[in-house]
Structures are given as C-alpha cells and as structure tokens.
Amino acid sequence: MGAEDNVPLDDKAKRMRDLLSSFYAPDPSTNNAPSNPGTLDAINTSSFDADQYMNLLIQKSNLDELLQRHVEMAAEIKNIDTDLQMLVYENYSKFISATDAIKRMKSDIVGMEANMEQLLDKIMSVQSKIQFIYDLPTRLGKCIESEAYVDAVKFYTGALPIFKAYGDSSFQDCKQASEEAISIIGKLFSDSESIQARTEAAVLLKQLDFPVDSLQVKLLEKLEQSLGDLQLKTDDIENASMESNDPKLGKVPDSVHITAHEGSIRGFAEAISAYRVIFPDSEGHLIKLAQDLVVKHFETVEQCVKGRFSCANLLVVLRTIWTDVLLMDEVLSEAVLPGFSLEAAQNALKQHVASTFNYLLHDISDALLRLNVSSKEAAEENPLQVALEASKKALLQGSMDVLLDFRQLLDDDLGLLVQLRDFVSDWVQEGFQDFFRALYDRFFLLSGRKSSSSQDQGLTAGAHGEKVLAGLVLVLSQLSVFIEQTAIPRITEEIAASFPGGGARVYENGPAFVPGVMCRIFRSAGERLLHHYINMRTQKVSTLLRKRFTTPNWVKHKEPREVHMFVDLFLQELKETTSEVKQILPQGLERKHRRSDSNGSTASSRSNQLRDDKTNRSNTHKARSQLLETHLAKLFKQKVEIFTKVERTQESVVTTAVKLCLKSLQEFVRLQTFNRSGFQQIQLDIQFLRTPLKETVEDEAAVDFLLDEVIVAASERCLDPIPLEPPILDRLIQAKLAKWKEKNPITP
C-alpha cells in the first residue's frame, strides 16, 4: 500500500489504518517517529500523556477553542470506537473460520500415512530413472571413449522410450546430449576407423533404426573408398620395387608395405563378410567391388610392366594380389575371384613378356646405334668391332637374363602362377619368336633397306635422320649370323631346359618358338645385309665412276698425261671397305676361286681379242671373223666366273665389291664412245689399277679378267683403238706410283 495512494483518503481511513497497524505491529515505536510530547500532535503516539496534553491544551487554547476541541475529540472518539468494533468483529470471524478448518483437517488426516509412503517410493524410483537419464550422456561418452559401442547403444536404446515420451519437454537437454553422443557412432562411418569397426557400427546403427537403405549405400561408399586406399598401397609397392630395382639387386620390396596392405585387405574382407551378414541381398555390389579391386590391382601391374620391371618384383606384386584374392575369396566365393584374376594375370603376364622383349630390342638397337655416335667422334679404333661385341652381348646376355627372369615365374609356387605355368612357357617362347621377328624388321629398318612404312617410331627418326652407315649394315649382317649360329641355339637349349612343353594352347602353326624358321630367317637376313653392305660400298664407287664417265667429252679427249684421280678415290673407297671388313669379318681360309657357287658368268675370250688387237691394230675388217671366233672360243674356254657367291670372309667381301665395281666400270665404258686418247686414258687407268687391286683381292684371275674386259669394252667403243706404247704406259704408271707413294707411305 503505497503512501501516494493515501492522498485522497480521508483522515478517518488513515487513522484506521494506523490503528490497525499499531495493533498488529510488534513495535509501533519504530513506525512512528517519537513525537515531541510537548505538542498537540502527540495524541496519536504511544508516549501520549493525557494530563500533559490537557495542561497544554488549556494553556494554549481559549474557550472557544477548547469547546471546539471537545466536539472534535468526542466525534473522534466515537469514530474510533466504531472502528474498533469493526476490527474486533472481523478478526473474530476469521478465527471462526480457522477453527472450522482445523476441525476439517483433523478428520481428513487419517489414511494419509499409507499414501505418503507410496508416494515416497514412487518418488524414489523416478529419481533413480531421472538420474540415469541425466547420466546417460556422460555414460555414453565414456562408452564411446572406451570404444564399448555395443554398451553405448544398449544404454541408448534403453533410454529411447523415455526420450520419445518426454524428450520434448523435461529431458530435452539430456536427449540432445545423448543423441550427440550416439551420433558419434554414426560419425564412425566417415572416420578413418577400420572397416571392421565401421561394420560393427553399421550393425549397431541398424539396431538404432537408421534407415537401412542409406546405410547400405553409405557402407558401400565406404568400401569403395577403401578400395582406393588399397590401391594406393599397390602403388607403394610399385614405388618400393622401383627403388629396389635401381641398384639392380632385384630386392624384395619393403615388406612393411606388404604387411600393412595385407592388414587392410583382411579388414576389407571382414567388412565384406560383415556386410553380407547385414545386407544379405547385396552380393552383386560386393562382387562388383571385389572384382573392381582385382581389376585395379592388375591395372597397376600393367602400369608397372610397361616399365622395366623384373619378374622378381612382378612376383612380389602378384603374390600380394593373390593373397588378397584368396582372402576375399574366403568371404565372397561367389565372385569367382581366382578365376577372374587368373584371366587378368594372363593378360598382365602377356604384357610383361611383350614389354620385356621390347626392352631387350631397345637395348640391342641402342648398342648398335651407338656406332653412329662413336663413328662421328672417331674416338675408337675399331668402332665396328666394338659395336658388334656390344650388341652381341646385349643380345645374348639380355636373352639369358630374360629367360632367367621368367624362370622365376615358373619356379614360384604361387597358386596363381602354378595354373599359368604352361601359358608362361608358351608366352616366353612366343615372345622370343616375336622378338626375333621384330629384331629382323629392326635390322632392315636400321640398314635403311626398308622404307619407314612399318610405323616404328622412335628409332625411325634416328635411323632415317642421317644416312645409314655402311659399317652398321656390316655389323647387322654379322649380328644376324651370330643370332643364327649362336644366340638361337643357346636360347633354344635354354628354353628346352627351363620351359618344358607348354602346349596349353593348340597352335595351328606348330609350337610357339620355331628356332629352325628363325635361323633360316636370320641366315637369309645375314646374307641380304651382307649384300646390302657390298651394294652400299659399290654404290659409292658407282657414283664416282658415273661422274667420271659422263662428264668429259670422250670423243674429244686429249692425250693421257697421267693416271686419272678417280683411281685414287676408287682405291680409297676400297681401303675403307677393307678396314671395315677386317674389323669384324673372319679371314678366309683358302685363297681359291670356287667355281661351283657361281650364278653368272662371262667368257674371257674377248680379252684374247684385245691381245690380238694389240698386234693387229689396224686390222678392222677382221672383226667379223673375230666375233665368230669369240663365239667359238666361248664354247671351249673355261668360263671365268664373276658373280660368285659371297662368303663371309674379309677377302670374299672385298673381292665381290671390287668385281662389282669393275663390272660397273665396264658398263660405263660401254655407254661411251672414245677417241684414241680417250681409249688410251682408260687403258692407262686400268693398267695402274691392276697391281693394287690384285693385292687386295682373293680372286686374281677374275679381277684380271674384268680389267681386261674394261679395256676390251673401251677398245670396242673406240673410233680409233690404238693402245699406248708400252714404254709410255710404263713411264706414266711409274710416275703415278712415285707420286702415290709420296702421299701414302704405306702401300695398301
């Protein structure tokens, strides 16, 4: 009751209140400020002294005032009296009703005791439950902390009805906290926890009534992701094995990786089995997953075998894969993973074989092509020999290494490989067959015989960018012989010893590796290349001769003054050929002309004609009978063979080259018409050639004959064939010889 509200109240009401309050107030003096008893106002205070008040009133007031005071006071007293009566009455009625209530209470309180006890019990139980709910978040937290997810879920599912009933009201906080805790279990999916843990979690989540479909999808996603992890590990293996490959030790790659990988695969397998338990209808997905894994594994393998990858490393990888496959097969035999991976392994191995041989091919080409480089630098003394030896070594050693390498595949008892043994055998044999085919092609590509139509990149650029060296062709030829005579027999032997049988497949064209055919191919290649070499060498001379014979006007030739310089160039070419041939061809055993191998012939009869001509120079009308004579003579005279079979000896090759050059010389001469001086020039040049050529070649008779033939041809094509007088011829030759010796102190 605020004092401000009092303002409109009349004095009476105020006083009433004051009275009442003084009645009830335990200490009225604190309410009312101690008023001065000496004033008239003190009437309402507790310290009121009636006598003093009277004295004071009388003293201060006159009569009127006193009278008025009296009236007032009487009225006040009356009022107060009434108020008092009212006050008492009111309090009394209150008391009456209080008594009534006490009376009622007295009757009601009977039977309360039992109810109270019941209530107590109930309250106690509710209290413990509430305690559990309140504790639940912490408890769940603890469970999760100690990874007792099963318990956690049990607790949570227990509390779940309460949360369902009161979650929105009383236990909102608790529910939230618990759900948060439980959702950690859900989070386990996204964590990098082990697959198994996740599977368990999945089981639990299923208990938690998570939607199964999304769960399934989620788990599948997880599994797929884990595939990626597994994949990475295979890469590690690759890296590790690449590293270990570097020091060429073929060391088994880091086993830590392997075990780690195996662990995760095991987890994966368990996850699969768990998954199958949870989602019985999900086999299709799982099979696909498992197969994907295998496919990815083999993709990695195929990536690996594209590089230089030893079988030892391959074995390690395959072993890992096979372990994986077996593990997964245990839990998911429906995926037929062994069969599946067998197929993939077939492809991978096939590729490996192919790439291994490809590298071998590269090595050999590299060894050969080094010749181009080294000959430019001219550092080595016998570049051809070096190149031949290097390529021989690359070939034989390389092949043996390859065989040894593949032997490991055969010897291994890995289940995967055991089944593929026969195939490996076949592939290796097939590989050699293809390798030699490819090598054969490569040889001809390198030799420049074949146009680059066979799209063999890489080397084509190297081989065609510059002119093919004749020496390289000779090396290739020798290498072909080596392959035919040494390499293929050795390899055949090795294959027979280490790669028995095969025969997993039926070949329409007989066995995979047919050494006989290969030998034949390389024998013919060796011959062709040798011929090619001779051709290349003679072609140079041919160009020289062409220039020599087409340039001057032979009909207006001047008297010969010296041996023409083309002879020097010719002999120079020959010297180069000889030096190349000496580096890598064996020496011939016999210096004898072999007639039986000839495939072409020419009679030497007309050289006799020349000798006749020498004596009967001007006897032109005898020519007709002479020709008849030559025909006749041919019938009786033993033929001198020009184009004998080339043998693989220094002498034979040089001789063949010389013969071909001289034959070309003859043909060029036949295309010209000479005056006497022109003829004499030819006579001089040829005469000079006689001695050095005979020194170089094996078949003196044939060379002699061919030289004669050139002079005959020249005389036939001469308008006035009068040879040089022998003394002049001799003098010119001596002069040339002297000059020549000056220039080349050592005679060739």
């Binding site: 085919r437 072609q539 072409g600 020009i642 034959k663 018409t673 036939e716 001469c718 308008l719």
Partner: protein
Amino acid sequence: MQGGSSGIGYGLKYQARCISDVKADTDHTSFITGTLSLREENEVHLIRLSSGGTELICEGLFSHPNEIWDLASCPFDQRIFSTVFSTGESYGAAIWQIPELYGQLNSPQLERIASLDAHVGKINRVLWWPSGRHDKLISIDDENLFLWTLDCSKKAAQVQSKQSSGMLHYLSGGAWDPHDINAVATTCESSVQFWDLRTMKKTNAIEHAHIHNANYDMKKNHILVTAEDESGIHIWDTRKPKSPIQELPGHTHWTWAVTCNPEYDGLILSAGTDSTVNLWMAPTSIEDEAISESIAESPAQQADPLLNSYSDYEDSVYGLAWSSREPWIFASLSYDGRVVVESIKPFLSRK
C-alpha cells in the same frame, strides 16, 4: 645353268643392245633388232619365230647407216620402226619403213620416212604410243622431250611441241602410258617425271635414284615398274609416288631393263648386266600394299617372287621384249649379239 637349253637362239653379227616386238604383225611372232657396232656396217634384223616355235628365221636383213642405240617397232604398222643411232660423235633418230618387196630384192634398202632431226643433244629413246594407232611420236634426248606429228603417207614428221626437262635433269629414257594417250614418264638420274603432253607440263615425279628403265603395266592403270642400278626393281603406283608398292631384288649387278607382260598380270621380266634374265611374279593389286611388308614378316613362308632366272647368256643383257601375239614368249638380246627367245609356259601353271 637352269633353263639354259630351252631357249631358241639367233646370232647377230655384231654387238647389239635393242630388240623390239613387232606388235602390228598379227600373223607371226616377230621381233626386230639392230646391231651396235661403231666401226662396222650395222644391220637391222627382222626375225620371225617359225610356226612350230622351234627356230628363229631371219625374215629380213637390212643395212642401217649407223650403230643402233634404240629401236622400236610401230605398233600399228609392221613395216615401220624407229631407231636412235650414233655416228660416234653425234646422235640421230629416224623412222624407217621396210620396203614392200624386200623378199625379192637382192639388197633391200630401208626407206627413211622421216628424220627426227630437231635434236641437238644425245637422243635416247623414240616412243610410240603402245596401245594402237596414234599419229604422235615422242623422242627424248638428254635435255628435251619432243612431241612429233608423224604422217606416214606424206613421209613427214613435224615437231608439235617441245619441252626442256629442266636444269640438271639429264633424261635417260621414258615410257608412254598405254592407258593415257597424254601421259608419258621420263627417267633421269634422280627421278621419274610424269608429263602431260597437252600442256607439256610436269605433273608428278617419283624421286628415286639411278633408274635405267621404266615400263607401264599394259593391263593395270597407274602401275609403273622401274629398274635401277643397285636397288633392283620397284613397282610403283603413280598416284602414290612416295614409296613403291613392291620391291624385287633385281640382279646381281645392274638391272638394265624391265618389262611387264602384256597379258598376264604381275609377270615381269628383267634383264641385267649380270648376264641373266629374271622372270618375276609380282601381283600388283593396288590395295594390297601389305605384301611388301609381309615379305619381311616371313620370308620363309612367302613364295619367292622370282619364278625363274635365265642365265644362259655370255654377256650383259640389254634387250628384252615380250611378244604381244604370244604373250608367253619373250625375246632377249645380250651384248654379244645373241637373241634368245624363250617360252615361259612352264611357269605359267604356277600362277
């Protein structure tokens, strides 16, 4: 000496380089050939294969003023032929007619219808269009290609047009496309060039060195066979001049001449300075380019393209001609003046 005895021989008096099939003679299988002798009197021989095919008969013997470097029979008149000759110092070319009554005359003289004397350089070849009657002739010298209009009745030849081969291209010969009257190929040291006779412009070229001789396939369009010094024989599709369709090994020494059979597809003859004539079987289906590669693939399994090598010659063989009347017969001429006519019948069955 395989196949040595089968040939029918005929001896010329002197050395000789060229022989030609008398295509216009439809009654007999005849060849015409001429000698190459610098200092003697040269002769032209008209040779006929006897009806039994067992011997070669000299049908006519005519003296020719100079040594003959090239000789070609007119494809539509058996009595007309062309020669390229040399006096030793200069070259000339002429069209000749065999006198009508030569059988009855004592010393029949060849009648010179026309001299192709517009040339200054060394003449190499005179070409007739191989497929029939055509009033044009082509002559080739070192540097120029001439197109002549020949009028046999008026006995006149006129230069229709002329084209220089260009610097540094010394022409050595050529071939007239039997399938295209306006196309001719010329050979030079470094390439084969193709010309359009209407414009006398170069249309195409095969860059390939040392080609001695070129010959068009009579049956198949666009197929040209070339013979080279060292690298043997190449078969080209003229539409794809970059690389040959096929390669044949050729001869031990130069492959001098090459000629396609007028009738049998893929039969090619080559003559070489190694004193042999080789008969090749090289099917030239244009699409089948894989052949050349598959040879390298498995030479053991591939049939040898060389059917036969005739080696019964004593000297280089420069002259070579199929008979168009009996296309299984060919004549070859070695430098020593020996004509050998052979039948390839035994090898036809293998085809």
